[in-house]
């Protein structure tokens, strides 16, 4: 699907936000789902790159991506200009699913892991839930979308590895601290970020008996279940599931992270 770039904005060194209008609406999107973007027309790089849908219109008539420049593919995308075309397919996968009865939600996001929560947070808040957003980054400048979450009506806490802002340390340490502060444990934890962080959040949640959903970032060749390249191990079984189709969001107890 060809999309027109309607804006491209640098957020911090190496991070940018891309706003896209598809030729035709993509259809309904769930936060946590992703699209597969083509980085140029050449066969090198060959494969599409997976990107979580960040902000979006409910019918998929507009979507935003939060991109970290990680290599050649994302580098190419970062040089797009307003008006340029971007080829993507999707949305794919299973997003976050928060049961109606969950009242208190802790969201833990690192780096571009904030993307899926940009639309989810205001939705949960509007449902009357008590939403705690914990954002982590290496340093103050790399905290993404702080303003957005402030405006979304969530209670926001930030952590920086170098202590330049908010909690001094990893966002998972901040999570531990917040859990101690809360009178009741939250009903649910939702997390998105690097694998190491996912593991730590999952362990913490499990330890505290909190249902937890994590998003995995396995390498993907197709994104729609055809290559079997992206699989994760099902916990306690000799069996794999495709991250692109059954995930990328999983119950943290379901898969080996």
């Amino acid at each position: 699907m060809q999309c027109t770039v309607t804006s491209i904005q640098s957020l911090a060194a190496g991070f940018f936000h891309l706003s896209l209008t598809p030729e035709k609406p993509l259809g309904p999107i769930t936060p946590g789902q992703f699209v597969m973007i083509r980085c140029g027309e050449s066969t090198d790089p060959l494969l599409r790159r997976p990107m979580s849908v960040a902000d979006f219109e409910a019918d998929g008539s507009r979507l935003g991506l939060l991109v970290q420049i990680a290599g050649r593919g994302t580098g190419t995308i970062s040089r797009l200009d307003k008006g340029d075309q971007l080829d993507l397919i999707g949305p794919f996968g299973q997003g976050y699913s928060v049961p109606p009865e969950a009242r208190t939600i802790v969201i833990v996001a690192g780096g571009t892991g904030v993307a899926p929560f940009m639309t989810l947070t205001p939705t949960l808040v509007s449902q009357g839930k008590d939403v705690h957003v914990l954002l982590g980054a290496r340093t103050k400048e790399l905290l993404l979308m702080e303003e957005w979450f402030l405006h979304a009506g969530a209670s926001l806490h930030v952590a920086t590895d170098d202590g330049s802002k908010g909690f001094d340390g990893l966002v998972t340490a901040l999570m531990m601290e917040r859990l101690d502060h809360m009178e009741e444990p939250p009903d649910m934890a939702l997390a998105c970020g690097p694998a190491g962080m996912m593991r730590a959040v999952a362990a913490l949640a499990e330890h505290n008996n909190i249902p937890c959903q994590v998003s995995l970032e396995n390498s993907m060749a197709c994104g729609f279940g055809a290559c079997l390249g992206c699989v994760a191990h099902v916990r306690g079984e000799k069996r794999y599931v495709t991250v692109c189709r059954k995930g990328p969001v999983f119950d943290s107890r379901e898969v080996l992270i």
Binding site: R38, A221, F224, A226, C227, H233
Partner: protein, 304 residues
């Protein structure tokens, strides 16, 4: 424009077929297009028992290509026959069952079952997988073993075309092509992936958990075209050209080298609707090349 191809008795409405392992059991692509638009597809490689495949990482991008070490993960014959086939029988496209075994017996047992399975239009033997009885070397890199396994399957496959998918990891592919033809194969698929690998320099170890993987994609096309060319010279049975097909031009390249039809693999991942797209573009290209059908171009690059 006549795009019809009779491939060893398999009727294809166009010469564009999804390659095994890149096309699931077909149904994965239903959300992208109507499967009846394509010539057919080869199933993910089937074994008697379900297989969970290799640990991860399983894939890695390379210049104009990719490595995969999926490890032949598949649902196994029973589940395929009972869960997938009922749906596939309703679709008007050729279903070719790709299969393999770890032993000669498993090949033969499975070949017999697939031969009897309603709705399967042809069998494609993958002989690139490791022979556990022979220390893990691929069946398809030893000429004697290749002959034996093809003859074994041929003896039990009585109703359907038996296609052998050759391994490119050999010195002389023509020798293998002849051996397969001599052993009763009805067609050849040329080529499977080249063995490759990549290293994670940060962690000082191979990227793929399986160490090596299969190289596919446009990068390997020149090798694939050469092997189709050599096989065409060596045998009379029809050939599927496979390896890096990404455009209508590439389709014609394989056909002129001697392929009767082509299979599209890796590029399905990049453009899930590439096969119907190629089917749409092909007639126009053929007209520009002064051809009235696909079949008249088969092997023309070999001259008169």
């Amino acid at each position: 424009m006549d795009l019809n191809v009779d491939f060893a008795g398999i009727k294809l409405k166009n010469p564009l077929v999804g390659a095994s392992g890149t096309f699931g059991y077909g149904l994965t692509y239903e959300k992208f297009f109507d499967l009846s638009l394509i010539g057919g597809f080869c199933t993910k490689g089937l074994s008697m028992k379900p297989r969970e495949g290799n640990p991860t990482p399983r894939i890695c991008e390379t210049p104009s290509g990719m490595l995969n070490a999926i490890g032949l993960q598949n649902v196994g014959y029973e589940k395929f026959a009972t869960k997938k086939m009922p749906k596939l029988r309703k679709i008007s496209t050729a279903v070719i069952a790709n299969f393999f075994g770890e032993t000669m017996e498993e090949y033969i047992e499975l070949a017999a079952k697939l031969d009897a399975l309603e709705g399967i239009h042809g069998l494609e033997m993958n002989i690139s997988c490791p022979n556990v009885e022979k220390g893990g070397a691929a069946f398809g890199t030893d000429i004697r073993v290749t002959e034996a396994v093809v003859k074994g399957c041929r003896a039990v496959v009585k109703n359907k075309p038996l296609i052998v998918k050759l391994s490119p990891n050999v010195a002389d592919i023509a020798e293998f092509a002849r051996a397969c033809e001599g052993s009763g194969a009805d067609g050849l698929s040329v080529i499977n992936t080249l063995v490759g690998m990549a290293i994670d320099i940060k962690n000082r170890k191979p990227i793929l958990a399986n160490v090596t993987g299969g190289l596919s994609g446009p990068a390997i096309r020149p090798v694939a075209v050469r092997m189709v060319w050599q096989c065409y010279k060596a045998v009379k049975i029809p050939i599927f050209g496979i390896g890096g097909v990404a455009s209508a031009k590439d389709v014609v390249e394989f056909i002129m080298a001697g392929a009767s039809a082509v299979q599209v693999g890796t590029m399905n991942f990049v453009s899930p609707d590439i096969i119907p797209q190629l089917a749409e573009e092909l007639p126009e290209l053929l007209v520009r090349l002064g051809a009235a059908s696909v079949s008249e171009l088969v092997g023309v690059a070999h001259g008169g």
